[in-house]
Symmetry: D2
Subunit: 349 residues, 4 copies
């Protein structure tokens, strides 16, 4: 008998509803549900206005985990994610999710019938969206709506909400790309550029799909939880760490990277970040291939622990693309174990 | 006789007016004016809604240069800056500017007298600002305005503009940190968190100053222009490049960094960025100490040109902090020149 | 009660008697005796005609250990030592010994009285010695005996023996430095250049002391035994290994050396040696600071075991100069142990 | 008309006559003559008793050049060669020569008829040769002449000369491998182990050929001359240098080797050598692939000149095995030149 009284698991995400981050979270939960049908429908999704507020909710236990962007997001948040993960009580990344970035042009149904017959695309004078999203559809806009003005919104989902609310104060002037002036937060647009999910959630009419200039763009998100049991190694994992150098000097970063290279470990992301301890003080946030349970990565981490002022371990988790970690000659677990046995024989142990 | 008919030089920046990016641009122009008084007052500052739109204006020649954030900005734009600099016709960074990040709590003058006597801080129920700014003042808010709601704005300057406009539709609900829900773009706040400049520009009443939790934060901005004459070497310079690897393999980044290390060159920033040519294809954006005119940096760049698939040179420019580049033993221009003479003697040239 | 019936321990050395290698062995045994008086006088010293014959005697158990040159010897043997150590059943270096290299000019007593009054230095027409020794005294010879011819001997000790034997076949022509011709093995000299010990052993009359041009020269020797119990770590140790690369390519040696450098280990000797498996196939013989029981060296050795085709461990032993191994920040045993505990906590072990 | 009055060119070698070094010199001159027939027979070959005496003759101009061993020689001289090349007025290696190492067992003709019928191999009781040569034929000796004693000679050629001279003092005892005792310089052997050339030169009877245990051994020799015009690059060259470090520290050698690796240059030999400036002060003697005229090697040498205390250039010369230098991607002369043009364009030159 199923425990129907069990309260749903709460998951946070960088909101508002309808962002690509929510898509990442829904996709992730669907993937988990596919392998655990009993879990379906037992989640509650909670949007947060910023990455660090979302992560604080994780730290407090308000949500079990939170999905946040870690790379190249349309609506920002990457450096905020890196910084929020590095400070405060330490959290752990437990999953990675990739989301294809695609945009629609959407408007409110004229009469609720949803057929959109009342408004041709050509009549659109202003389009609301986040500036980053606008940047990614400008090719399409120049071709199809050359006269449309861009009105800044704080997110693509907020633009969709505004269109759905139909708030169009008479006389409110939209900011244009031409003069770049801001018009406060007053919506003044008949259409918006947003994700397909946001358009659907707000009951908007989709005027055009896949209007992004760069087809195939994908963004990475990570699911962050409190420290606890590590995800099992799968042979296709990533590990995220933040490294604080002992001193700043030419070749200092090289010394850190050699700890990976001498064990045959590939990096997939690296970013220097100011530590907040004064200009010129940096740390390095990076992802590498492999799991902390792997011999080679374990030894690399101990090496970093020895040479760094501080190492923040942010988790080992399965890669979203499931690409198996390449293992170079001499770096398999067996190679490490064989080498240790040989060392013991030398030492007469 | 001064040429009073000369049209003003136009400079772009990531808008809207009142952002820290505008402060960076004004500070920069003031520094230039200090050494060239004739130039005072001959500039026009133009806000742009996004970094790439600002940089396109530079490419088209609409503005002489544009100031954009390159690190840790309150209002984002960093990865957008890196990506926009890497694509399209190549531009050059010609200056770096540091801006202390400080926030004020500001409200509209009750009766235009500006003395603020009509409204105590304690009465504020909602505060508008960009989520990143909100994150940086939450300590202060928790202490002084624990009950105030946060309303998302697309920038701190936009929040200031909204407060100045006094737009407060009755019944409009602000988004709260608690539930994270979005309220569209309707302003619903009596106060905002913004830069001192934005408060002044909009004639707001300052209720509290220096409310940021982390005093001493500084953000870097760069001034970008079309390719042309390089800034002269000053002995305290930085150089920015983007490196595209030939192949992705363990130690590949190491090989690139050794081109710097073998010439004694220190890095001050590094970030891997997806190239947009498929997931897993990365490039590295980095800053290093020194000027392309320096012997050691020149040789390092030729080494990178040989081993990389592509090297994008984004400029050599004076450091904002004017800290002289340390020159290690064996890496001065004289050392390079002496070594070349020695080589010629070996070759019998 | 001492076991007076115990047979003496036999030690081999690169002979003949009177070479610097014998001096190294005697010095070594004296040093041991100083800390174990009961052992005094219980050794038998056995000369061998070549390094590899000496080492075979060790392998067979004919001698307990053998002293052989490993660096810069007057009478050669270094590469022979390296090659002999690398092939056959594996042996272990158990001690290192330094011997100051100093030469005497010696002649046979004219009448057995040993006062040398019968022959002034100026009358010497030919001097026998090993060519390497001759090279090291030529400055002195040019000044004091400009007309004396050099006669090649197979070792300095052999020259001393020949002078002692007084064998001077009439008409036998010595080889001169001028024409370099060889005169077979017929001694034809009234004096020799040899070690002080060889002159004493053969009852020769010393005509001049410290005639070497380069005062202060010191040569290294090693004491080699069968594999068994390792010498205890002293904090001032060396370790000798031979590394066979997997493949020959630019930077291949670099990869091996990084295994030392990433653990802060200093090298004190390195030599590439043909492996005998075809021209172009090399291995590297090297000494490094530290003991196999040290954490950092243990990990470096396991790293080499993983990346090399073959690693031959030739022993950890106290340094002759007793200079303590410098331990860089992050490379002490405690640092390694702390790092391993930290790793276990990450892994939840 | 040929100038028959021209005096022959004199070449030195590490003597005595009949050594493998003489073979190396003769092979080299034959190779030259093959491409310049007019030079045939115009050379005079001069043996020298030691490498440094030979090199001094080169410095004085007594000989045009001298052939000396640089690797793994039967009769030593390698470290002497390295040291002699590093000190004094600088010389240059102008050619490399490889000589297969093969030995014969040879005896004096019984009656001058040279048919050897008078003495069966089985009757040989003592064999003279250099200890290194004896070590290389012991397998054969154990099988065919198990009872024969080894008598030390100062070189294989000296042993051949002694056999030819028939000097066999009655009662003279040879040193045996068994007890390792030396017997002075008195020859006491009916046969010798030497090179085929030495046997021929001394008119000896060859009893057995190719008696070396390790067939296929080859030794490297180099031809050394005064500094002057460099040999032309051939695309299959080597370069020899001696590097003196600025300071001794972990990773110091690594820094030197990275100067090669970052330019894609392969090393073919490396040896640390005491500098003679106190124990613990080392330099590195090494060979690498390529010619000083190559762009990549030129830049590597300037890099070494900058970071080393001293760089001694000992020559660029064709490889004896004529194996073309592999050129890695990004390290051809064209790659260097293209990179320099690109740098000039960046600098606006």
């Amino acid at each position: 008998m199923t425990d129907v009284t069990r309260s749903p698991t709460r998951y946070g995400f960088l909101g508002p509803s309808g962002t690509f981050t929510e898509t990442a979270l829904r996709d992730r939960l669907a993937a988990v549900a596919a392998s655990d049908p009993a879990a379906v429908g037992r989640e509650e999704l909670v949007p947060f206005p910023s990455v660090d507020i979302a992560l604080e909710a994780v730290r407090r236990g308000d949500v079990a985990a939170a999905m946040v962007p870690i790379e190249n997001s349309v609506e920002g948040g990457v450096t905020a994610t890196l910084d929020a993960l590095s400070s405060g009580e330490q959290l752990a990344i437990i999953a990675e999710q990739l989301v294809p970035i695609t945009f629609v042009l959407a408007a409110a149904p004229v009469d609720g019938s949803g057929d959109g017959s009342g408004m041709p695309i050509a009549g659109i004078r202003a389009v609301g969206t986040h500036p980053h999203a606008w940047a990614q559809v400008r090719g399409w806009m120049t071709e199809h709506l050359p006269a449309a003005e861009h009105v800044r919104a704080s997110s693509t989902a907020a633009a969709a909400a505004a269109v759905a609310a139909g708030a169009r104060p008479p006389g409110a002037a939209g900011a244009t790309a031409g003069d770049g002036s801001a018009a406060g937060e007053l919506p003044a647009y008949e259409a918006c550029v947003c994700s397909p999910g946001a358009a659907r959630d707000h009951g908007l009419r989709i005027l055009a799909e896949q209007i992004e200039d760069n087809a195939g763009a994908v963004t990475r998100f990570v699911l962050v939880a409190r420290r606890g049991r590590l995800p099992q190694p799968t042979g296709a994992d990533k590990t995220t760490v933040v490294l604080h150098q002992r001193e700043d000097r030419p070749g200092g970063l090289l010394d850190l990277l050699e700890q990976f290279a001498t064990r045959g470990i590939n990096l997939t992301r690296i970013e220097s970040r100011p530590t907040g301890e004064g200009l010129g003080s940096y740390c390095f946030s990076l992802d590498c291939e492999g799991h902390v349970a792997d011999e080679r990565l374990g030894e690399a981490l101990t090496g970093l622990h020895r040479v760094c002022r501080r190492v923040v371990f942010l988790g080992s988790y399965p890669r979203a693309d499931a690409r198996p970690t390449p293992v170079r000659a001499g770096t398999s677990d067996d190679d490490f174990i064989a080498a240790r046995y040989w060392l013991r024989s030398l030492r007469g142990e």
